[in-house]
Symmetry: C2
């Protein structure tokens, strides 16, 4: 059983923050939920929709009585949010987040939070193409992974409370070190976005009146993530620089292998590379596809 | 109005060949349709489903009375099919195909067909993940592009008949030179497949107990085409070698740009690259999305 949250403050009351609020409300484990954001209309809407009880535009003022704070802002904004709450955050408050890279957020927490040992980094792997409180729904996290990346200094009680919080949302909670998280997510999430953006740019520059004219369903699916927010992906890429750089190198290497095989007419190598890729993807779908 | 086809012979009675048969039947423009294939059960099923009137396992025997032949086999098999029909094909018969690269098919036609000027290369840009005659349906081509790539030697009457045939299927028929076709399709179709296979291989080799564990919806969509047939894509890649090699180079270049921007923390360049990609994709979807 999860210990009740007396006052949850959610910095960033969008899809993720709002969905956490709704899930905790549904479970009846949060007595008061305050939303903080920069857009007044979104916060007013969030109250109207029953996502939060009340709101504030001022991070420092909002957290003074919080026992739990969820920071769900674009990952590059984490440092400034920690800075804004540092002076007024109660010493016993627990802080968690929802950022998609973890080492950079932990470095920011260590730099700005008065008790970084009560910060428990989290990455719920869930989302839709929608944003804002209006898009929030209590089932968003169900059956999705939520990765916690505590380190040696993380307070055990804080970890337990954050573990319980994300479990209540329906997430499959798992713990690992931040470097492993950043490397794995660079591979399966950040790298595909880079590849989709790069591919669209390669086609765009390939000339002709309309180089996209004959693109079809495969292209549409492959490049869907190239319609993601450029600002958000710039931030994610820069917050996970070392890991993502290595993954980009790995992809360039693999493309070089195929390039040489195509150019040289290496039938066997192409069949081997394609077959191994298909086998790996199909195995993954078989094992984890239900949770997508 | 389309001139009736007295005897249409379809070499390869799968999704594409079968769907052409059903569309022509529906329009009432083909008096007799014979299917040719290697799998007896598929041909028997095609007769049972009303896709074809009769069948043969022998290409040379099947075409002796044909006035129209559709070759819808994997593109690498085109040459051997042309070879098999060369001796018995009536001089006035018109031949078309459905291969996804055109220069290689035209070279094969020039080499093996007795009257290559009556061969009109076609590429209907349509398909599903299914295969076989059982997957065929008459609306497959509706609102999809069908690209014809005649050259200076193509017979005008043969071109007109093939143009009419594909128009009757519901395709938006367009003509261009084969080199332009191969370059454009390398960019929007063959390259994404290479990238999807390469990305899965990069992740596969990235180590850890299960490098795919945290892959989510974006990864699934991005890599969907990596579950395509390795044999088919090996053949397509090798049939479009020069164009695809250039496109692979272009993608590697674009990934290199992003790699340097990520590594160097070049905020402005990343935002510019991502924004241009999103804009290009969104414009394409707005313009052509309805036809997907």
């Amino acid at each position: 059983m999860m210990q009740d949250i007396e006052h949850l403050v959610i910095i960033g009351t969008g899809l993720i923050g709002g969905s956490v609020a709704l899930a905790l409300r549904k479970a009846g484990v949060a007595k008061r939920i305050t939303g903080v954001g920069r857009r007044l209309e979104n916060l007013q809407l969030a109250v109207k929709l029953g996502v939060i009880d009340d709101y504030s535009l001022d991070i420092g003022a909002a957290v003074t009585q919080a026992d739990m704070v969820l920071v769900s802002v674009p990952v590059a904004a984490s440092a400034s949010v920690f800075q804004a709450m540092a002076a007024t955050l109660p010493a016993n408050a627990v802080v968690t987040d929802a950022g998609s890279s973890k080492q950079s957020v932990m470095a920011a927490a260590n730099q700005y939070l008065p008790n970084p040992n009560r910060f428990v980094p989290a990455h719920p792997i869930a989302g839709t193409e929608e944003s804002g409180a209006a898009a929030a729904f209590s089932e968003l996290f169900e059956a999705h992974w939520c990765i916690l990346t505590p380190d040696l200094h993380t307070d055990a009680e804080a970890l337990e409370r954050v573990h319980a919080l994300w479990t209540v949302t329906g997430s499959k909670v798992i713990e690992m070190d931040a470097a492993t998280h950043d490397e794995q997510l660079a591979a399966v999430s950040h790298l595909p976005h880079m590849a989709a953006f790069a591919l669209v740019n390669a086609v765009r520059k390939s000339g002709g009146a309309d180089p996209f004219q004959f693109a079809a369903g495969g292209f549409r699916d492959f490049t869907r993530i190239a319609s993601s927010s450029p600002e958000m992906w710039r931030d994610i890429a820069l917050c996970n620089r070392p890991a993502l750089t290595l993954k980009l190198d790995a992809l360039i290497t693999e493309l070089g292998v195929l390039r040489r095989a195509v150019d040289g007419g290496d039938t066997d190598l192409l069949l081997k590379e394609f077959s191994q890729a298909r086998k790996a993807r199909d195995s993954w779908l078989l094992k984890h596809g239900d949770a997508l």
